[in-house]
């Protein structure tokens, strides 16, 4: 590595590093250290706590519940989101005449605010008389039954992430060199073969990236829950960050605040290690 190139790179990274350090890393470091201390609700440090804050957290049944709920949400949301965005982008990757507006509409959810979309869903799934029930002939009290409430959240999550994932995948499909596809066609490959053996591997990097972002969004979901279900009915949609929101943010529990934030970032590290392993293996091939 050339020294000059290094210095240049650091200079280019400076804006990112400053913003990230001042507004994310510095506050996080504070949190990390504080998680090892005993701090009262007014913020006064009472002493060293070691890992006892963590022990307290994992003993809390509500926290245990929130981990399970988050995993359930993630395992429902990520596959559905990936499937639908991949489906939409695969279907429209090759231009269909007059489908320009369709692409724009698939992209439009990006323009709607999170709270706006959530309120629309709240209205769409409101009780037994909701419009969704009427149109589909169902009798579900969506937000007052445990699993349906979770499903509503999943649908909302997909709607919120649809636009950006769709565009990312669509543009990846379209960037594939047409000559490769044509050559395969001439060789007599079926369109399924072309799709699974040529196109899909070529967009795999971006697909993995959208899956990564979906996992991130799923593990961190909270704002839609605050508006849509308040963790209900009966604590069935209380995710980790919702637990965090009511206990740390609203009730001022410092131990929960510091330990949960630290654990979230540690779990991020875990996800990224797994990811870099996947990327590494792919790059080797």
């Amino acid at each position: 590595m050339k020294r000059k190139e290094c210095i240049k790179a650091y200079a280019y990274l400076l804006p990112c590093l400053i913003l990230a350090s001042v507004f994310f890393l510095y506050p996080f470091l504070n949190t990390l250290i504080s998680s090892l201390l005993r701090i009262n609700t007014s913020g006064v440090v009472l002493g060293f706590a070691g890992l006892s804050n963590y022990a307290l957290l994992f003993k809390d049944k509500s926290f245990q519940n929130s981990i399970l709920r988050t995993l359930l949400f993630t395992s429902l949301f990520v596959p559905l989101n990936t499937f639908l965005t991949l489906l939409a982008s695969s279907l429209t990757a090759r231009k269909i005449k007059g489908f320009g507006p369709v692409e724009t509409i698939f992209f439009l959810p990006v323009a709607i605010s999170l709270s706006g979309a959530t309120l629309i869903f709240k209205e769409m799934f409101r009780g037994r008389v909701s419009i969704i029930n009427r149109l589909l002939g169902l009798e579900i009290d969506w937000l007052n039954e445990r699993f349906p409430a979770m499903l509503t959240l999943v649908f909302l999550g997909v709607f919120l992430d649809f636009g950006i994932d769709y565009i990312l995948l669509l543009t990846s499909f379209r960037a594939i060199d047409k000559r490769v596809l044509e050559a395969a066609e001439i060789d007599g490959a079926s369109s399924a073969q072309i799709y699974f053996h040529i196109e899909l591997p070529l967009i795999m990097r971006m697909l993995l990236m959208t899956v990564f972002l979906a996992i991130k969004d799923a593990l961190l979901i909270v704002a839609p829950i605050i508006i849509l279900t308040e963790g209900g009915p009966f604590r069935s949609t209380e995710t980790i960050l919702f637990y965090y929101y009511i206990e740390a943010f609203k009730s001022g529990n410092r131990a929960v605040q510091n330990t949960v934030s630290t654990l979230m970032v540690l779990s991020a590290a875990l996800v990224m290690v797994i990811y870099s392993l996947i990327f590494h293996r792919r790059d080797k091939k």
Binding site: N133, F159, S261
Partner: protein, 268 residues
Amino acid sequence: MKALRIIVSLILLLVIAFPMLYGVAVSFFPKSDFNESKARLFPSRLEFRNYYRALNIKNIGYYILNSVGSAALGTIIKLFSVILGAFAFSHLNFYGKKAILIILMATLFIPQDAILFQNYMTISSLHLLDTWLGIALPLSFSASSLILLTLSFSSSEKDYYDASRLDGAGDFRYISSILLPLNQSVVLLISIQAFVSIFNSFLWPLVVTNKAKARTLQIAITMLGFMEEGDYGAEMASIVLLSLFFVVITVIFKKRIEKALENGINIK
């Protein structure tokens, strides 16, 4: 085969478009429509009062200016930092590349609420309370934009970079005349996302502003108290109006977006 493709796409289209269309329909519901024993698809009559209420904000000009201003400022800062950062990650070799990338990516998982108080103190000690910069700064770094752009940049041909360097063009020249045009769809996407997310944020702008004239549109609308008063029609009207702003932008830039989409990202 093509027919199947079209049918499935249209079903998906309906699923995605329905919430938006229903939002528009609900924004015209008179109050009594919310109480009916079967939910309505269309309003019984068009209630324009919802829109009148949503628009009836004193000094709305200030709020719009502040929302647009802080969001634009944040978007510019974000683009500036992320483009340079992504360029460094994708085109240059340097010590600690992986480590820095991982540290930056870890910020994705820091809960916003966790850093609210600390950031308030920082902004306050920088004397940036009640300013656009104060609203924008903590919202203008995004690791997800950085990795998307890095991913996108790293797949453009390195040959171009070498060639442009041989021609004596500097990095900035290369970024602005080759890299950005090649990746315009992703750049456009993250700009829109940045703008929308800052424009729509509520808690942070509320926390860093005290003066009425420094407030943003989201706060002004919340202050109308539609949710607390159970005025869902007016609430929905305000959501439609806010979204409309972006829809108009999308329509204006439609050609550009479509052109960008045609090119695609050069992911290998």
